[in-house]
Amino acid sequence: MIGSDLLGIEHLERSDIERILDTADHMREIGEREVKKVPTLRGRTVVNLFFEASTRTRASFEIAGKRLSADVVNFSPQGSSMGKSESILDTARTLDAMDPDAVVVRHSTAGVPKRIADVLAAPVINAGDGAHEHPTQALLDMYTVRQQKGRIDGLTVTIVGDIVHSRVARSNIQGFLKMGAEVRVAAPPPMIPAAVETLGVKAFTVLREALDGADVVMALRIQNERLMGSYFPSVREYSATFGIDRAKLHYAKDDAIVMHPGPVNRGVELSHDLTDDRPSVILDQVRNGVAIRMAVLYLFAGRPRSGPDDGGKL
């Protein structure tokens, strides 16, 4: 049974993931209607507490909330506790006193949504915390793969990029493994996290080997600041060795799909033609993002708090 917060894929069972994906199927249909709204969360307040800037994820949650008729409020406090008058926990306690029905939290440091959830009575949904987890991204990624391939069991998923700094990688690794896929990661050595095999994946530093027979190729965004000097020498070299283009894609299966959480650094992680055309499913990912977030809000937001029998569980 799902708990009351969505802090990470690490806390979900396979059956929970399936339940969210199945619910998203129904939510997607709403997006195809003319009136893209249902009254389900009418009168409920969903707060987007984004300490880290993000246009796409926040907009996605906002649209999702509004399609469920929730009142969506955006709070964007200053980035970190440094030099601020109000600490993160104080912000959370203040918010708690306003009685929201769900709080979506994004922060540049791992662990903040958990700390906030400890303080808040309302359910907390993690929209990305540092390099730790980004559960709704992984859920929409799994949903997209299931949509394209009909299943996840037995597929080979290769994730390429700055794994050590990527919450998208960590969440997807856990999600795809729980759903029965084989997961590989590929990156230049400094970008492979310590003891990564303990997560259950195989690590590669040669892209061709990682792509061999893959059904899904997921490219992650490279942040330029990291490249310069310390983790990798140059964009040019990264793109040549780990960037995905049609030629390299030949090592994967013929019907392999290409994914990216966005925004794409064109020509770096993905070649221009792979960004826009099939086999890239990037736009499907975005579309599915709203459906997944509607499913998450439906399942987590606005449930009555600790009734005598339900104990906060679904």
């Binding site: 003319e34 009136v35 709204k37 399942l299 009555p304």
Partner: protein
């Protein structure tokens, strides 16, 4: 083995509960044929009809009704499926979030005579939710309601235009359509269960 349940909650009847059959397969088919005639009688323009089934129980009934209308009036009536779960008025009062069901509305709703089809009608809340859902799809010319079984105990001012059978019940009892999980020709029956399980037809 529990049958796929036809009522709003999708719960299977409890094992060991004494089930009394109130309508058997033949009775259901006869009722649906009679209702098809009544629909044609009341609606001068059968081409404007749009059958909208409320899952799960309404789905096989709507299909059978469409087949009957084709036979009776030689008209192909569109059939849609409209899940009302997201429009329920009790969602935020329950601990459990009920599972969602399929929605598929192949035709536009504007200016059509929508005939909602449900298996068992009790409080009228499901029909109310269905009408709200319908309005989000467009503006029907008219809305009529088919209920295979009317068991009374309305809590809202909802009336049925076409009824298969009236079955007087105690509020705590439960009435179920069984067999809706089978194919188009699978036998259906309506049963009455004593004691009342939670979350049945509303």
């Amino acid at each position: 083995m529990a049958h796929a349940d036809a009522t709003g909650s999708g719960e299977a009847p409890r094992a060991g509960e004494a089930a009394r059959q109130v309508l058997n397969d033949t009775g259901i088919r006869r009722a649906l044929m009679r209702i098809a005639h009544e629909i044609v009688e009341r609606n001068e323009e059968p081409e404007a009809l749009y059958l909208v089934a409320i899952p799960n129980g309404g789905v096989p009934l709507a299909r059978m009704l469409a087949a009957n209308l084709h036979e009776v009036a030689d008209v192909g009536v569109a059939v849609g499926v409209l899940d009302t779960t997201l429009y329920r008025d009790d969602l935020n009062h329950r601990g459990e979030r009920p599972p969602l069901r399929h929605t598929e509305m192949p035709s536009a709703v504007d200016d059509r005579v929508v005939v909602l089809v449900d298996d068992v009608v009790k409080t009228g809340r499901t029909i109310r939710a269905a009408m709200d859902a319908l309005m989000d799809f467009g503006r029907p010319r008219a809305v009529q309601v088919v209920g295979l079984v009317d068991r009374g105990h309305r809590e809202l001012p909802i009336k049925l235009d076409y009824v298969g059978k009236n079955v007087p019940t105690h509020p705590k009892e439960s009435v179920r359509l069984r067999g809706s999980g089978g194919g188009l020709d699978a036998p259906l029956e309506v049963v009455l269960l004593g004691g009342g399980t939670a979350g049945e037809a509303r």
